[in-house]
C-alpha cells in the first residue's frame, strides 16, 4: 500500500540508486583485487617507488567508491519501509559491502606493515628486497584498477586520507554500520553461482610439471595430456 503513496520519482530514484550500488560493488571488487595483486609485490625485487605510488592511487580510488557506496546504502536502508520489494537485494548488497570493507582493511593493514618493514628511503634498502622471481611489473594491474569508474555521475568531493587515517576510518565505518542498521547477516541468500571454467586454463600443476620431466628424463608413456599429469602426480606424492 505504501507504494501507491510514494511518488513515481521516488521509486525511480531508488531503483537508480540500487543499480548504482550493484555496479559500485563490482567496481570495488575489481579495485580491491587489483590492490591485493599489487600488494603481493611489496618487498620483492620489483618493489619500488613506482609500485608504491600505484598502490596509493588504487587506494584512493577504492576510498572514493567506498564512501560513496556507504552513503548510498545507508540512505537506502534507513529509508526502507516494511515490505519493500528490493529489501532482500539491498540487504544483500549491505552484507557484501561489509565483507569487502573488512577484507580491504586487512589488506591495508598488511600493506602498511610491509611498507614499514621495507622502507625504500635509502639506497641500501634495495638490497634487502626479496628475490621472489618476479620479472615484470604490476603496471597492467594498476592500469586495470585505474580504469574502474565510479558508477555515479555526480562528482562528489572526497578527502584523500593517508593510510593510517584510512584504516581507522574503516573501523569507525564498520562499527557505525553495524550499529545503525539492523540486518540479520545469516539471512542473506547468495545469488551467484560459482561458474565453471570460463576458459580452459592450465592449472599450476601442469605448468610446473614439465620441468620435472625434463630433469628426470622420463618420457610420458603416451602423448596423452592427462596421462602425463598422472605419471607425475604419483611421482610427487
Amino acid at each position: 500500500m505504501n507504494r501507491w503513496r510514494q511518488s513515481v520519482v521516488e521509486i525511480q530514484t531508488r531503483k537508480r540508486q540500487v543499480n548504482e550500488s550493484e555496479r559500485a560493488h563490482v567496481a570495488l571488487s575489481k579495485v580491491t583485487a587489483c590492490y591485493q595483486q599489487m600488494a603481493t609485490s611489496l618487498g620483492s625485487n620489483i618493489d619500488g617507488s613506482f609500485l608504491r605510488e600505484e598502490l596509493e592511487e588504487t587506494r584512493i580510488v577504492a576510498h572514493k567508491i567506498c564512501s560513496g557506496l556507504h552513503r548510498r546504502l545507508l540512505t537506502l536502508l534507513t529509508e526502507m519501509e516494511q515490505g519493500q520489494e528490493d529489501k532482500e537485494q539491498v540487504e544483500r548488497l549491505w552484507v557484501i559491502f561489509l565483507s569487502s570493507l573488512e577484507n580491504f582493511q586487512q589488506d591495508l593493514k598488511k600493506v602498511r606493515a610491509l611498507q614499514e618493514i621495507f622502507p625504500l628511503t635509502q639506497r641500501k634498502d634495495r638490497q634487502a628486497l626479496v628475490n621472489t622471481g618476479y620479472a615484470g611489473g604490476t603496471s597492467e594491474v594498476a592500469a586495470r584498477a585505474a580504469m574502474v569508474q565510479t558508477p555515479w555521475l555526480s562528482i562528489e568531493e572526497t578527502e584523500r586520507p593517508d593510510m593510517k587515517t584510512h584504516i581507522k576510518e574503516i573501523d569507525v565505518m564498520l562499527e557505525e554500520m553495524l550499529q545503525r542498521v539492523n540486518v540479520p547477516l545469516w539471512s542473506i541468500e547468495p545469488m551467484q553461482e560459482v561458474d565453471g571454467v570460463q576458459e580452459e586454463d592450465e592449472s599450476l600443476e601442469d605448468i610446473m610439471e614439465v620441468e620435472v620431466v625434463s630433469q628426470n628424463n622420463i618420457s610420458g608413456c603416451c602423448q596423452h595430456y592427462n596421462c602425463k599429469v598422472g605419471c607425475l602426480l604419483c611421482l610427487l606424492s
Partner: protein, 479 residues
C-alpha cells in the same frame, strides 16, 4: 561483522613466534647480492623464472654465515621452509629443506607469517574458490572438504567471496605469464603453511594460548574466598604460649633423655653396633622379666605403659586384682575396632555393645550418660571411630585414677625389684668380628603373631564366664 573477540587467539600471545622476526632478518640477509645466496634460473616449458636457489646452496650459506655444522644448518633451513619463508619448487607439499640440487624460492613478504594478522578463513575461501573457478576438480580431498565447510559457515558472504575470487583471478591474468606462475606458486605455498594438509606436521601448530602469559591473571572470587576461610580458621585455633610449649618440650627431653639410644648407650649394647642382639631378646613383648629401664619407662606416663605390651599385661594383672578389668578390656576392644578390617566392624561393634555398653551387660563400663547416649546412638550405624568418645573417657579415667594406684601398688613395686639391669658389653675387635659371623635371623613375625592370637584366645576364654561371678562378688563385697 566477523566476530573479533578481545582475546586475540592469534599470535599476539605466542611469544615463541618471536623467532619469526629473527628469521625475517636472516632472509633479508640472504638477499644481499654480494654475500647472499646465489640464485639460478628455473627452466619451465613455457618460460624461465629467475631466483631459484638450490637446497645445498642454502645449507652451505647458512652453515657459513651462522657458523654451524651441516646438520644444524639443514635443520635450520627446514625451519625456514616450514614457516614459509622459502618454498620448494618440486614436491610443494613437503616443507623440508633437501640438501641437494632441488630448487627453492623465496616467498614474497606479503605472504610471510606475520605476527599480527592470522590467515583468515575468508581469504582461504577466496583462494579455494579461485582455484575452483580456474579449473574444476583440482582441489584435494581435504581442500574440498574445507571448501564445503566454509561454504556452509559463510553462506551469507558467499556472493562476496565468489565475486572477489573472480576479480582476483582476472587481475592476475593481466600479468605476464612468468609472474603469474610465480604468484600462483607463492599463494599455494602460503596456504600449505597456513592450512596444512591433514596428518602433516606444521610449524604453525603451536599451542593456542588464550591468555597473555605476561599479564597478571585476574584472580577469581573463589581464590580469595578460600584464603579468607583458611585465615579465619587459623585465627580460631587454640593457641599455646611458647613458654608453655617449650617447657613441655624441655620436660619431655629431660624425662626421656636416658632412654634415647643416641644420647645414652643402651644396655647391654646396641645391636646395630655390636651385632649382638641380646638387647632385643631382653626387651621382647612376652619376656618374663623386663629390664629396669623398661619398667622405669612405664612410670613416665600412662600412654607409655599401655603402649608397651609387657607393661600392658602387667597392668592387666593389677586390674584383675582390683576387679576393674573392664575398662582396659573396653579400651582394647575399641582399639581393635579402630584398626581392624572393615568387614568385621559391624560384628565387633555388636559384640562390644553387648559386652560393655548395654544396660546389665556382663562388663558394663561406667561412663557418663551423655557419652553413653551418643555412643549407643552411633552404634546403630557403626564406623571405625564410633567409640572414640567413650574410649577417650575411659582412657582418662584409667589415667587419672587407676594408673597412680598402679604405680603405688605392690604389683609394680615387685616388678621393679625383679627387673634386671643387664651388664654393658665390651667387645674386643675379634669378638665383634665373630658377632658379625654369628648373626642369625630372629623369630619370624608370623610365629610371633600366632602366639599372640593364641594368648588372646586363652585370655578371652578365661575372662568370659568368670567375670559375671566376679562382678557379682565384687558388688556384694562393696555392699
Amino acid at each position: 561483522m566477523t566476530i573479533r573477540s578481545d582475546r586475540d587467539h592469534g599470535q599476539h600471545y605466542r611469544p615463541r613466534m618471536s623467532c619469526l622476526k629473527k628469521l625475517e632478518a636472516i632472509v633479508v640477509q640472504m638477499q644481499d647480492p654480494s654475500t647472499g645466496v646465489k640464485g639460478s634460473e628455473q627452466k619451465l616449458n613455457v618460460t624461465t623464472i629467475p631466483h631459484a636457489i638450490a637446497g645445498q646452496d642454502i645449507v652451505a650459506w647458512i652453515s657459513k654465515h651462522m657458523n654451524m655444522d651441516n646438520d644444524e644448518a639443514q635443520a635450520f633451513g627446514t625451519m625456514l621452509a616450514a614457516f614459509g619463508y622459502i618454498y620448494p619448487l618440486q614436491d610443494h607439499k613437503k616443507l623440508v629443506l633437501r640438501p641437494d640440487g632441488s630448487l627453492y624460492r623465496f616467498q614474497t613478504p606479503y605472504f610471510w607469517p606475520v605476527q599480527k594478522s592470522k590467515a583468515e578463513d575468508t581469504d582461504y575461501a577466496i583462494y579455494l574458490a579461485k582455484r575452483n573457478i580456474r579449473k574444476k576438480g583440482v582441489l584435494d580431498a581435504h581442500e574440498q572438504e574445507e571448501y564445503n565447510k566454509l561454504h556452509n559457515w559463510m553462506n551469507h558472504k558467499w556472493d562476496f567471496i565468489v565475486m572477489q575470487a573472480k576479480e582476483q583471478y582476472q587481475a592476475g591474468k593481466t600479468r605476464q605469464k612468468a609472474d603469474r606462475v610465480v604468484f600462483d606458486c607463492q599463494e599455494r605455498a602460503y596456504w600449505i603453511v597456513q592450512r596444512p594438509p591433514p596428518q602433516t606436521h606444521s610449524a604453525m601448530d603451536v599451542l593456542d594460548r588464550h591468555i597473555d602469559p605476561n599479564t597478571e591473571e585476574k584472580k577469581p572470587y573463589d581464590y580469595y574466598r578460600r584464603i579468607i576461610i583458611y585465615t579465619q580458621q587459623a585465627v580460631m585455633r587454640s593457641r599455646v604460649k611458647s613458654t608453655v610449649s617449650l617447657g613441655a618440650l624441655v620436660k619431655y627431653m629431660a624425662t626421656f633423655m636416658n632412654h634415647d639410644p643416641f644420647l645414652v648407650p643402651c644396655l647391654p649394647s646396641n645391636p646395630w653396633l655390636t651385632d649382638d642382639d641380646s638387647y632385643w631378646e631382653l626387651n621382647m613383648a612376652d619376656v618374663e622379666v623386663p629390664t629396669k629401664m623398661r619398667v622405669e619407662r612405664w612410670s613416665f606416663s600412662f600412654y607409655e605403659l599401655l603402649n608397651d605390651p609387657r607393661g600392658r599385661s602387667d597392668f592387666k594383672i593389677f586390674l584383675k586384682k582390683e576387679f576393674s578389668g573392664e575398662n582396659l578390656a573396653f579400651w582394647e576392644a575399641a582399639e581393635e575396632l579402630k584398626w581392624g578390617t572393615g568387614a568385621s566392624m559391624s560384628e565387633k561393634a555388636e559384640h562390644i555393645f553387648k559386652t560393655f555398653l548395654a544396660p546389665g551387660a556382663p562388663r558394663w563400663i561406667n561412663i557418663d550418660g551423655r557419652t553413653m547416649g551418643i555412643t549407643v546412638k552411633g552404634l546403630e550405624h557403626p564406623h571405625r571411630y564410633v567409640l572414640d568418645g567413650a574410649q577417650t573417657h575411659i582412657f582418662m579415667l584409667m589415667k587419672k585414677d587407676t594408673f597412680y594406684r598402679y604405680l603405688k601398688s605392690p604389683v609394680y613395686k615387685e616388678i621393679q625389684k625383679k627387673a634386671i639391669s643387664p651388664v654393658p658389653h665390651s667387645f674386643s675387635d675379634t669378638q665383634l668380628q665373630q658377632n658379625t659371623r654369628n648373626r642369625r635371623l630372629s623369630i619370624s613375625p608370623i610365629i610371633t603373631w600366632q602366639k599372640e592370637q593364641e594368648e588372646k584366645a586363652k585370655a578371652e576364654a578365661a575372662a568370659g564366664p568368670i567375670d559375671i561371678k566376679k562382678l557379682m562378688a565384687s558388688k556384694l563385697d562393696r555392699k
